[in-house]
C-alpha cells in the first residue's frame, strides 16, 4: 500500500486527544482496606468487566475512527504490482528499455539494463516476457519467452543509441506485442527510461493502452535539474550558387538548465577550418538564434559544423550540416518577338541582378527556340510567348515529364488556343482574357503565404498592393494547386506537377503590360522566389538520426559507395524506384558519398530536443497513455504521479471515511448505553 499525501500522517498525533480524555476522565480508584473480599468476589464481576471493557472499547473506537480519518487524508492506494502478484495465473510482460541518446548520460543506460534484468529475475518462472528497446522507434530484442537466460542475454545485447525518444511509439509496439499473446494472467508493460518531457506530447498523443494493460514506469534518472547547452537546429539553404553564402545561416542554441550561462563559445567550421567564433550568454531555460552570413564556400559539397564549447552532455555539442555550392543550371526565357522590343526586360533584369540564383538565363524568341535543344535547359520560362509550334509543344511536354521546370506567364500576345497543345501539362486551361476598365484594377487575393514562393511576403502582405489590369481567366485542373487568386476568384498563380517536372502558370504578365508588379519592390523577390522554387532540389543540409537520405546515381548511372561517419563502408540500403540508394542514418556525423571526382556528404544530427532532460509530467503521461492501471516506481516524482492516477481510480479514502463514520456512530451508541447503565446502577 502506498500513500499519496503521507504528510497527513502527522494527524496521528490527534490520537492523543481521546487517549488523554480517557486518562483524565478515568476515575482513579481509591485503595481501601476491607476485612475480606470473599463475598465481594462472589458478586458477579461481569458488570465491572463489561464497563471496563466498554470504556476500552470506546477508546478503541475513537482511536480507530481518528486513525481511519487520518489514513483517508493520506489518500492510500494499492499499487498494481502487489495486485498483480496476487493473480494466480502467470501473465505476459513487455519490458521496454529506453536506449535513446539521453540515456547515454552516465549511469542511466547501465542502470536501465540492471533494472531490466531485475525485472526478469523477479518474474515468475512461467511468465512470458519480451524485451523491446526504443528511441524514436522500437526494436524487438527478444520474442515472448519464459527463458530467463535468453531474456538476460537479449537485455545485455541492447546498446545505447543516438536517436531521440518517442514513448508513444514504444507503447504502441508493446501493446501490439501484448495483443499477440493469449494469457489469462495480467498483461503488463514495464517502461524503463529517463522519461524526458520531449518524448511525449500530450497535445498530439492519440494512443491509449487497453484497460487490461498495466503500465509500470521505472525512472532511472534523478529528479535534479541537469544543466545542458545544446545546438538544437541549424537553418540553412543547402545549395547555393555563388561563392558567398548570402542568406542567413541560423543556429539555434538552447540552455536546458535552470542556471544562466555566460561566455558560451560557438565555433563555426567549414571543412574543418574555423570560419567564425562567437561568445554568447544564455539565461536559464532560454534559447537563442545566432546567424552567420557572408562566408565563402568551396565549389561542391562543404562539410560544416557548429560546436558549442561546453562540458555538458557531449553528443549534442556539435551540429553537422552540409552546404553545397553548385554551378547554376541553364534556363531559357522564350518570348514573342515584337519588332525587336523585348517584353522580358524586367524579367531579365530581375534574374541577372543576383548571382545566387540556381539558373543562368538565355532569352530567345519562341520562333528561334530549337525544340531539340530544350532538354539542355533545366528551366523554361514562356513569357507571354504567343503561338507555340507543335514541335516545341511536344518538346516542352517531354521536357516537363522528364523533370524540367516550366514557368508560363500570359500577356497581350497570349492566346488561349496557343496553349491547347500544352494542355496535358498545364495546371489550368485558359479561358478568356480580362481587361479592366480604364483606371480600374484588381488585386491578388487568397495568397498562400505558407508556400515557398510567397513566404517572404508573409509579414508585409504587400503583394496585394500590385494593380492588375489584365489577366486570363482560367480553370485549374483537378491536380493543380492555386497559390493566389484575383479578386474575381480566377487563379492568379497555379502550379501542378507532371511527371517529374513542374509547371507554374501566372495568369497575368511578368512584364508591365497587364500589371504594375515590375514597378513595385515586390517584383524582385517574387521573381527570385519563383525561380528558386523552380530550381529547388529536394536536398537537406542535414538529416536527423533515423531519417532516410537519398544517394543519387552518378552521371554514369552508378550508385557511389557510401562510407559511414565511423569510416566503415555502408553495405545495407535499399533502392528507390528511380534506382537511387536510400540510406537510413544510424550514426552521427558525415556520411561520405564517394562520387567519382567530387565527393558528396550527408550530415546526420541528433534530435535537438533530446538534450532537454526535463522530466515528463507523470500525471499527464500516465493519464494520457494508461487505459488501465498505471504505477510508477523509481523516482519520487514518478511514484507520486503514477500514484495519483491509481489513487484517483481506487478512491480508498471514500471507504475509509465511511468506515470512520460508522465507527463514530457505534461509539456514540455505546457511549450513550454506558452512560445509561451507569445511571441505573
Amino acid at each position: 500500500m502506498s500513500f499519496l499525501t503521507p504528510l497527513f500522517f502527522l494527524g496521528v498525533a490527534a490520537l492523543a486527544a481521546p487517549i488523554l480524555v480517557h486518562l483524565v476522565r478515568r476515575t482513579r480508584a481509591r485503595k481501601v482496606q476491607f476485612p475480606a473480599l470473599v463475598f465481594v468476589r462472589q458478586v458477579p464481576q461481569r458488570t465491572i468487566r463489561r464497563r471496563t471493557l466498554q470504556n476500552v472499547l470506546l477508546l478503541l473506537l475513537r482511536c480507530l475512527a481518528i486513525l481511519l480519518i487520518v489514513i483517508a487524508f493520506t489518500r492510500p492506494f494499492f499499487s498494481g504490482g502487489s495486485a498483480a502478484k496476487e493473480n494466480t495465473a502467470a501473465g505476459a510482460t513487455v519490458v521496454l528499455v529506453d536506449n535513446s541518446l539521453s540515456m547515454r548520460r552516465d549511469p542511466l543506460f547501465a542502470e536501465a539494463i540492471k533494472r531490466a534484468e531485475a525485472i526478469v529475475d523477479e518474474a515468475r518462472n512461467d511468465e512470458q516476457l519480451v524485451v523491446l528497446s526504443f528511441d524514436k522507434r522500437y526494436a524487438v530484442v527478444s520474442r515472448f519467452t519464459a527463458d530467463k537466460n535468453r531474456l538476460r542475454l537479449a537485455i545485455r545485447s541492447i546498446s545505447a543509441g543516438w536517436d531521440g525518444t518517442d514513448y508513444e511509439q514504444a507503447l504502441r509496439g508493446a501493446e501490439s506485442l501484448l495483443g499477440e499473446i493469449e494469457t489469462s494472467g495480467p498483461k503488463k508493460i514495464v517502461m524503463i527510461s529517463d522519461f524526458q518531457a520531449p518524448g511525449w506530447n500530450q497535445n498530439t498523443a492519440t494512443f491509449k493502452l487497453a484497460n487490461t494493460t498495466q503500465l509500470t514506469t521505472i525512472d532511472v534518472a534523478s529528479n535534479e535539474p541537469v544543466p545542458n547547452i545544446a545546438i538544437t537546429n541549424v537553418e540553412a539553404r543547402g545549395v547555393v550558387f555563388g561563392q558567398k553564402y548570402l542568406d542567413n545561416l541560423a543556429v539555434h542554441i538552447s540552455n536546458f538548465g535552470d542556471t544562466p550561462r555566460d561566455r558560451i563559445q560557438i565555433d563555426f567550421q567549414i571543412n574543418e577550418q574555423t570560419v567564425e567564433k562567437r561568445d554568447i550568454s544564455l539565461n536559464g531555460r532560454d534559447s537563442k538564434v545566432i546567424e552567420f552570413t557572408g562566408f565563402n564556400l568551396n565549389e561542391g559539397a562543404n562539410r560544416c559544423t557548429i560546436d558549442v564549447v561546453s562540458g555538458d552532455f557531449a553528443p549534442d555539442n556539435r551540429f553537422y550540416f552540409t552546404l553545397r555550392r553548385e554551378t547554376p543550371a541553364k534556363a531559357l526565357i522564350a518570348e514573342s518577338a515584337s519588332r525587336g522590343r523585348s517584353d522580358s526586360l524586367h524579367l531579365q533584369s530581375a534574374l541577372t541582378t543576383n548571382d545566387d540564383l540556381p539558373f543562368t538565363f538565355t532569352l530567345k524568341s519562341t520562333g528561334s527556340v530549337d525544340p531539340s535543344g530544350i532538354a539542355e535547359y533545366a528551366l523554361v520560362v514562356l513569357n507571354d510567348a504567343g503561338p507555340i509550334s507543335g514541335a516545341l509543344a511536344d518538346a516542352l511536354i517531354k521536357f516537363v515529364e522528364a523533370g524540367g521546370q516550366l514557368i508560363v506567364s500570359t500577356g497581350p500576345r497570349t492566346t488561349a488556343d496557343s496553349f491547347n497543345a500544352l494542355q496535358r501539362i498545364m495546371p489550368a486551361s485558359l479561358r478568356e482574357a480580362v481587361q479592366t476598365k480604364a483606371g480600374e484594377s484588381v488585386a491578388m487575393t487568397n495568397v498562400k503565404f505558407d508556400h515557398p514562393i510567397f513566404e517572404v511576403f508573409q509579414e508585409s502582405g504587400r503583394l496585394a498592393a500590385a494593380h492588375v489590369i489584365g489577366y486570363f481567366r482560367s480553370e485549374p485542373t483537378a491536380t493543380a494547386t492555386v497559390l493566389a487568386q484575383f479578386e474575381d476568384g480566377s487563379p492568379a498563380l497555379v502550379e501542378s506537377r507532371t511527371g517529374k517536372g513542374r509547371v507554374l502558370l501566372f495568369a497575368s504578365s511578368l512584364g508591365p503590360s497587364w500589371n504594375d508588379l515590375p514597378l513595385t519592390p515586390q517584383y524582385l523577390p517574387f521573381i527570385h522566389q519563383m525561380v528558386r522554387y523552380a530550381g529547388a532540389r529536394d536536398e537537406n543540409s542535414w538529416y536527423s538520426l533515423g531519417q532516410t537520405f537519398t544517394v543519387r546515381k552518378s552521371a554514369n548511372g552508378q550508385i557511389p559507395p557510401v562510407d559511414t561517419p565511423g569510416g566503415a563502408r555502408l553495405s545495407e540500403g535499399r533502392n528507390s524506384p528511380d534506382g537511387d540508394l536510400l540510406v537510413t542514418a544510424r550514426e552521427l556525423g558525415f556520411y561520405r558519398l564517394r562520387y567519382d571526382g567530387e565527393p558528396g556528404f550527408a550530415a546526420i544530427d541528433t534530435d535537438g530536443a533530446e538534450g532537454d532532460f526535463t522530466k515528463v509530467n507523470f500525471a499527464e503521461f500516465v493519464a494520457g497513455v494508461s487505459g488501465g492501471t498505471g504505477t510508477g516506481e523509481g523516482g519520487d516524482a514518478n511514484r507520486n504521479a503514477s500514484g495519483e492516477e491509481v489513487e484517483g481510480r481506487q478512491r480508498v479514502w471514500w471507504s475509509l471515511l465511511l468506515l470512520a463514520l460508522l465507527l463514530l456512530l457505534a461509539e456514540s451508541v455505546l457511549a450513550r448505553r454506558t452512560k445509561m447503565v451507569k445511571m441505573v446502577g
Binding site: T27, A29, V32, Q33, F34, A36, L37, F39, I48
Partner: protein
C-alpha cells in the same frame, strides 16, 4: 427474664468506652453500670441451690440422702440441687487482620471484642467463676488459663490489651485446636467476625460441644460490612488478610454483596442453632450492654 434497663447507655457506648485507657476500669464501668440497671430477678445468684426431692433409688449416692427427713418421716428421699455455677469460662478472641477494621465506628472489631471480653471476664470473675482468655488467628497464639484467683483479672486485662491484629482467619482449625486444649468442660465465649465457611465451623462447634463445652458465639461486624456503603464510584479494595486487591464499583456490587452477607449471617445463625450454640451478631456501634444482656439471658436459660 433479664431485660435491659433504661439506664443511660452512654457509658456503654463502645466509642466512649474506647476513651478509657484501662480495660479493667472499662470492664468495671460496663458491668457495674449494666448490673445497676437490671430489674429484680428471681435469681439470687449462681451458688448451689436446692430444687426438689425425689425418692431414693438403690444405687443413689448416700451423700445426697436427706437424713433429717429420714429421721422425721422414716422415708428415703434424695435432695436435688442446681448444678455448680462456679464454672470455667474461656473467652476466645479472633485477632486476625480482618478484625482490625473500623468504618462505621471509630472502634475496630478487635477493640470491640476486647471490650466485650473484658466485660464478660469481669462479670464472671465477680461471680467467682474462673475466667481464661484465648487469642487466635490462624493458630492459637495467646492462652491465659481459667482461674478465679485474686489478681487473675489483672493478667486477663493485661493480656487482652496486648492483643494485636494480624494473620489470617482459620477459625475452624483454631476451634478444633482449642477443643483439644480446653480439657475441662466449661463455657466457651467465641468473639469473631466469622469469615469462614459455615459447614467447616459446624464441625468445629460439634467438636467443642462433644468436649462438653457450652458455646456462646458473638459475631462482631462493622456496620459497613453489612451495608457495603461507599460513596466512591470506584474502589480498589484490598483484602486485609491476603492483601489481594480488587477494583470494585460499589454501586454495582452493593446489592449482591449485601445479599451474600445476609446469607452468611443466616448460615452462621443456623449453624449455631443446630449445634446448640448461643449466637449473637453484634455491630461495633451497638452498646456493650446489649451484648451482656444477650449473654446473660442465654446463660440464664441453662
Amino acid at each position: 427474664m433479664i431485660s435491659p434497663s433504661t439506664t443511660p447507655a452512654r457509658f456503654l457506648d463502645p466509642e466512649l468506652l474506647a476513651r478509657i485507657g484501662s480495660l479493667e476500669l472499662l470492664a468495671r464501668a460496663v458491668v457495674e453500670g449494666f448490673m445497676s440497671g437490671l430489674h429484680r430477678s428471681p435469681f439470687t445468684g449462681f451458688s448451689t441451690e436446692f430444687t426438689e426431692y425425689r425418692q431414693y433409688n438403690p444405687g443413689d449416692d448416700l451423700r445426697y440422702l436427706d437424713w433429717r427427713l429420714l429421721g422425721r418421716t422414716d422415708r428415703y428421699f434424695i435432695k436435688k440441687y442446681r448444678a455448680d455455677t462456679n464454672t470455667q469460662c474461656h473467652v476466645l478472641i479472633d485477632t486476625s487482620a480482618s478484625m482490625d477494621y473500623a468504618h462505621s465506628s471509630s472502634v475496630t472489631k478487635l477493640q470491640y471484642a476486647q471490650f466485650l471480653a473484658a466485660s464478660i471476664a469481669y462479670l464472671l470473675n465477680r461471680q467467682q467463676d474462673a475466667v481464661g482468655i484465648v487469642g487466635f488467628s490462624d493458630k492459637v497464639h495467646t492462652h491465659v488459663p481459667a482461674r478465679n484467683r485474686t489478681g487473675h483479672m489483672r493478667t486477663i486485662f493485661g493480656t487482652l490489651s496486648m492483643l494485636q491484629p494480624g494473620g489470617e482467619t482459620r477459625l475452624a482449625e483454631s476451634l478444633h485446636q482449642l477443643a483439644e486444649i480446653l480439657t475441662r468442660r466449661g463455657i466457651v465465649v467465641l468473639i469473631s467476625d466469622f469469615y469462614d465457611q459455615a459447614d467447616r465451623l459446624k464441625e468445629a462447634f460439634q467438636h467443642l460441644r462433644f468436649k462438653g463445652h457450652d458455646l456462646v458465639a458473638f459475631h462482631v461486624l462493622d456496620q459497613n460490612e453489612l451495608d457495603f456503603d461507599f460513596t466512591d464510584p470506584v474502589l480498589l479494595l484490598e483484602d486485609a488478610e491476603t492483601q489481594e486487591q480488587m477494583p470494585v464499583l460499589p454501586d454495582v456490587v452493593m446489592s449482591g454483596y449485601r445479599e451474600r452477607m445476609r446469607q452468611h449471617v443466616n448460615d452462621m445463625r443456623a449453624c449455631a442453632a443446630a449445634n446448640h450454640v448461643d449466637y449473637e451478631m453484634l455491630t461495633t456501634k451497638q452498646p456493650l450492654d446489649f451484648a451482656l444482656f444477650s449473654f446473660l439471658s442465654r446463660r440464664a436459660g441453662r
